[in-house]
């Protein structure tokens, strides 16, 4: 299948290109020159960009198929322009055995929509005690190892896990949250939690854990990606770690650059998230850190939760928000508010996560895998349950009027979504 995309505005963050042009695709790759195309796509009025790469999207398989299925979430991914996604290991059972990883990859491949990059469990059953077979899991396709949201309280285990991973160069993805300080907490420890009478998680639960992780990176040389920063203090620690040239990267979830604890309103369980929404000051520091490049990537932290899981008192409600289909409009909103151009904005969901993953997609250079998205940056996007393809309708952005709609998604040279 040979494709020719013409009349579009080509935005390729990796090369900084932003301007009129055309894209040729042959044999699943971006091609330098045209030829006879099987199909010509007119991208008039649309932006043509590399497909988005989401570093955290829960597909809920195996184990939680009542919340979402691979099929529903892969549909949501391509409808959101996400052509590659990393899925955290907190499935049931967790991704701690090569067989499970292999099965997930096969199932995903059979659906032939987005590319799925499994993140393996760092410890057996995510219990924070015994190391998983990282080598065998890597062979099965795991791109990194993580505890997802499960705590790893034992620093001896964390140290050994980082040493072992560093031996073979396996990346480790960690959320920085002190398990003891966060115990029982459901909201940012501050004025809002005090008013609502919700048990708090202090900001230093993140900075203390992050300091520990960074010290262990210094000691072990492990390559660590810090997931879902939530505090201003965390951004500062990452800034210094990068100045020190430690092998660390980090990301922030899309809700954390737009929302803060005030959005909890009258106990809105859609704002029950992990990590919790923090203060306005933290939110502003995250948005700025992402704009300055201290934070490398923006991710959806897509977590479909069924209605029953959210129709509960705030503390009992299941944490998480659906996000794959909102990644683009919310990235555009953040980029616009930060005064960034389109290429710099899209870098956080294309070339930067590609660099963290160490993959060749996320750019439009000749020879790169032909993962391409065409979107209308100005088209209105009313967030409502019936406009979301994901099985999860849980998002704090319900009712928001956003801008940015995906019109066409191409994975490996095949059109997988068109609107």
């Amino acid at each position: 299948m040979r494709l020719h995309i013409k009349n579009g505005r080509i935005v390729d963050p990796a090369s900084g290109k932003d301007g009129a042009g055309e894209i040729f695709i042959a044999d699943g790759r971006i091609s330098a020159e045209g030829g006879k195309a099987d199909r010509v796509i007119d991208a008039k009025g649309l932006v043509v960009a590399p497909g988005f790469i989401d570093l955290a999207a829960r597909l809920r398989e195996p184990g939680y198929e009542y919340k979402a299925t691979l099929e529903s979430e892969m549909d949501a991914a391509v409808a959101g322009g996400v052509t590659s996604l990393a899925c955290p290991p907190d499935t049931d059972p967790p991704l701690d055995e090569p067989g499970l990883v292999d099965m997930l990859r096969r199932r995903a491949k059979a659906l032939s929509r987005a590319r799925v990059y499994p993140v393996g469990a760092l410890t057996v059953k995510l219990q924070g005690q015994a190391l998983t077979e990282m080598g065998l899991l890597s062979d099965a396709g795991c791109v990194a190892f993580s505890q997802a949201n499960a705590p790893l309280a034992d620093t001896q285990v964390l140290w050994r896990a980082l040493q072992y991973a560093a031996t073979f160069g396996y990346p480790v993805w960690l959320r920085a949250e002190d398990a003891w300080l966060a115990k029982g907490g459901v909201a940012h420890d501050g004025e809002i939690a005090t008013r609502l009478g919700l048990p708090g998680i202090p900001a230093f639960a993140e900075t203390i854990a992050l300091s520990t992780v960074l010290e262990l990176v210094r000691a072990t040389g492990a390559k660590v990606h810090v997931c879902r920063l939530s505090t201003a203090g965390g951004v500062e620690l990452m800034r210094r770690a990068k100045q020190e040239r430690l092998p660390v990267t980090c990301d922030v979830a899309v809700h954390h650059v737009h929302l803060c604890d005030m959005d909890l309103g009258y106990f809105d369980s859609h704002c029950r998230l992990e990590p919790p929404l923090r203060s306005q000051r933290d939110r502003d520091a995250l948005a700025r850190g992402l704009a300055e490049g201290v934070i490398d990537c923006l991710c959806s932290d897509h977590t479909p939760v069924d209605e029953d899981g959210k129709h509960l008192p705030f503390a009992q409600a299941e944490p998480g928000a659906t996000g794959l289909e909102l990644l683009l409009p919310l990235a555009l909103k953040w980029g616009h508010a930060s005064g960034l151009g389109l290429a710099a904005t899209l870098a956080r969901i294309t070339s930067e996560p590609a660099r963290v993953l160490g993959v060749a997609n996320g750019r439009l250079a000749p020879g790169a895998p032909a993962d391409v998205v065409l979107f209308d940056p100005a088209a209105p996007h009313q967030v409502a349950p019936d406009t979301l393809r994901s099985q999860g309708k849980n998002t704090p952005f319900l009712g928001y009027e956003l801008a940015g709609r995906v019109r066409c998604t191409i994975v490996a040279g095949n059109v997988v979504y068109e609107q």
Binding site: T194, L198, G200, Y266, H311, P313, F314, A315
Partner: protein, 318 residues
């Protein structure tokens, strides 16, 4: 961004549900206190009934054990001639796995008019209020650490009864503010009604983050904090607080924060002493003070009935 309407008020700005004192206008608080005033007489009559809620059903939905609050709500409803159904959910549906909203939907199908809800999780009555039918009313009888508005109102009623006016009062609230829905409700009520100085007194482990943002002055030294106070509100200290790392022992707590006659002498000469009950004598309050001339702890209970009658009659009429 959507602006959320205060879920307690109907489109006319009248009290539809009572969920929290926070966010209620001064006029509504005064309406409740004035209405309660008119019911105090009823509770002292020989025939203690008025027909305001005749034919209405009040469901006491207690997801957390309570004796006093449930009983006073029951008495208040009966004095308004309502039919009262008590449901102790901790030992029924919740243990069978029925969800909170399913329980409420089932009771709603039995034609409820008022749900009185107590729940161990903050915000549960808000969730219920969002899902009940338009003619149904929800009264929060205590949710987690968040709010206990009828207790706050009866505290306000008691203070007004003895002190007449809020605008020249110094009020001290002492003890476990962190876990206290009573303290939060009273603080909001006092600041709304114009009390110029509300103090909270306790160790740092029992004061929540950013508590001064509620409009209170923070003291850790009880003697200093009690100085010249007109109203002294003691909070209950639950024994389980001693099991974590919040406090070393009940004895040590009493040494620092127990109310004794000696400490009380630092307050204003006509100070009143209040406690939401149940009391732990010898932990947060000395018996000589609890039973002494400054104590208005038992009148609080009596006023609680009139205040709950007022709240039920007002929401049912809106």
């Amino acid at each position: 961004m959507q602006i959320q309407r205060n879920p307690q008020l109907n489109a006319e700005g009248e009290l539809q549900h009572l969920l929290s004192i926070e966010g209620l206008p001064r006029e509504i608080l005064l309406q409740i206190l004035d209405t309660a005033e008119s019911f105090v007489g009823v509770t002292e009559r020989e025939v203690k009934k008025v027909p305001l809620l005749r034919g209405k059903s009040v469901f006491n939905l207690f997801f957390e054990p309570s004796t006093r609050t449930r009983t006073t709500f029951e008495i208040a409803a009966k004095r308004l001639s309502a039919d009262v159904i008590n449901l102790n959910i901790t030992v029924s549906s919740a243990t069978k796995g029925e969800s909170l909203l399913d329980t409420v939907a089932n009771l709603s199908a039995m034609y409820a008019d008022i749900f009185v809800v107590r729940h161990e999780y903050s915000g549960a009555p808000f969730l219920i209020a969002r899902h009940v039918k338009p003619h149904e009313h929800v009264i929060n009888a205590g949710d987690g650490r968040h709010a206990h508005p009828t207790q706050g109102l009866l505290d306000l009623f008691t203070i007004r009864h003895y002190k007449k006016d809020f605008t020249n009062l110094r009020v001290a609230i002492i003890g476990d503010v962190l876990h206290s829905r009573v303290a939060r409700s009273l603080i909001h009520g006092l600041t709304t009604l114009g009390a110029p100085e509300v103090r909270v007194i306790g160790p740092k482990t029992l004061l929540p983050a950013g508590v001064s943002a509620l409009g209170v002055r923070v003291f850790h030294d009880m003697r200093e904090g009690l100085r010249d106070c007109d109203v002294v509100v003691m909070l209950r200290l639950q024994n389980e607080r001693m099991r974590g790392a919040l406090l070393p022992s009940a004895q040590e707590y009493f040494k620092h924060y127990g109310l004794t006659g000696d400490k009380l002498s630092l307050a204003a000469p006509q100070a009143i002493v209040m406690h939401p009950g149940p009391m732990n004598r010898g932990v947060e309050i000395d018996s000589t003070v609890a039973d002494g001339p400054h104590s208005v702890i038992l009148p609080q209970v009596t006023f609680g009935i009139a205040v709950r009658m007022a709240v039920m009659s007002i929401v049912a009429g809106n």
